[in-house]
């Protein structure tokens, strides 16, 4: 059995689920905040990108390792 295929699929898939939920909530809240207080948009945008980078990091690491497992191992 080629278990490494399963491992890569889990890494890519679960990472994607987590990031999708996280960035979905984050983007929704950002729009909500922007609609309530449009004058805070510049501040919110900076914070939005910081948190997006934090949320994005783990799935990206998962993608990198998953690709390594798929193609180079």
């Amino acid at each position: 059995m080629e278990y490494y295929l399963l491992a890569a699929a889990l890494m890519l898939g679960l990472g994607a689920i987590g990031a999708a939920i996280g960035i979905g909530i984050l983007g929704g809240k950002f729009l909500e905040g922007a609609a309530r207080q449009p004058e805070l948009v510049p501040l919110l945008r900076t914070q939005f990108f910081i948190v997006m980078g934090l949320v994005d990091a783990i799935p990206m690491i998962g993608v990198g390792l998953g690709m390594y497992v798929l193609f180079a191992l």
Partner: protein
């Protein structure tokens, strides 16, 4: 793909291998070399802890010097007349960093803003090497007889780890300087639970403290490694598919590299601001 003689596995591994110099138990001081990338990695492993990734050092120090040279040049020739484009650009960067530091860091410390600027620009430059087509520079070095050349220092965990642990050292230094050894220990052991649980609190807080540099290092490394990995995979494809995939990924990657440099900077400033806070 620069060379037809490799299999795709060998090609990927070749691109992920650093040029390492170290003391091999049998062959003495030498660059690690081997028939395949796997052999080279094995040789690097045998060199133990004191092997040094020459390409990482070369490119990171080189880019650091480039940063210092560029900013110094602009600072020396800065004019209050109509500024040139370069001066305008540098001013934008400095104001951007200054604004961010001011919004997070409220104490008086002359080190923090230059540190934040250095971290931001230096990491950005190191990440920027990711956008250089992956075969150009390794190909040139290969022609010159150097077979391994990894030009993105931040895809090496040693470089990001070095940065993160330097920040960690500063956190410890400023914690002790601001609160004293006793104050620092008190901060570690008397929260979040009441004082009776001091050993438990201490354990919890030390784990939290150590997690800071590790997450800082691995976040940057992981992002850059994943980006590099995907560029390498695209380079394996037939040539007509490369532009189609490489260009969108590179454009997306411009966002990623700036964002990661920015996050590294912001988190450094946040951690140092936390270290300055006296309870």
């Amino acid at each position: 793909m620069a060379s037809g003689e490799y299999t795709s596995q060998e090609y990927i591994k070749h691109h992920l291998t650093n040029l390492t110099f170290g003391n091999h138990p049998e062959e003495g001081w030498t660059f690690s070399h081997g028939e395949t990338a796997a052999d080279t990695a094995q040789m690097t492993k045998e060199m133990g802890f004191w092997a040094i990734n020459v390409d990482t050092m070369l490119w990171s120090v080189g880019l650091g010097l480039f940063f210092i040279w560029l900013f110094r040049k602009v600072a020396v020739s800065a004019t209050s007349d109509v500024p040139g484009r370069l001066q305008g650009f540098i001013e934008v960067i400095i104001e951007f960093v200054d604004e961010n530091v001011k919004s997070v860091f409220h104490h008086k410390n002359p080190v923090i803003a230059p540190l934040a600027l250095t971290i931001f620009v230096w990491i950005f430059l190191m990440n920027l090497m990711d956008l250089v087509p992956i075969d150009w520079i390794p190909f040139i070095f290969n022609e010159l007889g150097v077979h391994y050349m990894k030009i993105v220092p931040t895809t090496d965990v040693n470089a990001t780890g070095g940065l993160a642990f330097s920040v960690f050292g500063l956190i410890i230094y400023y914690s002790i300087k601001m609160k004293g050894v006793g104050g620092f220990l008190a901060e570690l052991s008397f929260q979040p639970l009441p004082k009776i649980f001091a050993p438990f609190n201490l354990f919890l807080e030390i784990v939290g403290l150590l997690a800071k540099p590790v997450s800082l290092a691995l976040r940057l490394f992981g992002n850059m490694y994943a980006g590099e990995m995907i560029f390498i995979l695209i380079a394996i494809l037939p040539f007509w598919a490369q532009w189609l995939l490489s260009v969108p990924w590179a454009i997306f990657h411009i966002l990623v590299i700036t964002l990661q440099a920015f996050i590294f900077m912001v988190l450094t400033v946040v951690y140092l601001a936390m270290a300055h806070e006296d309870h």
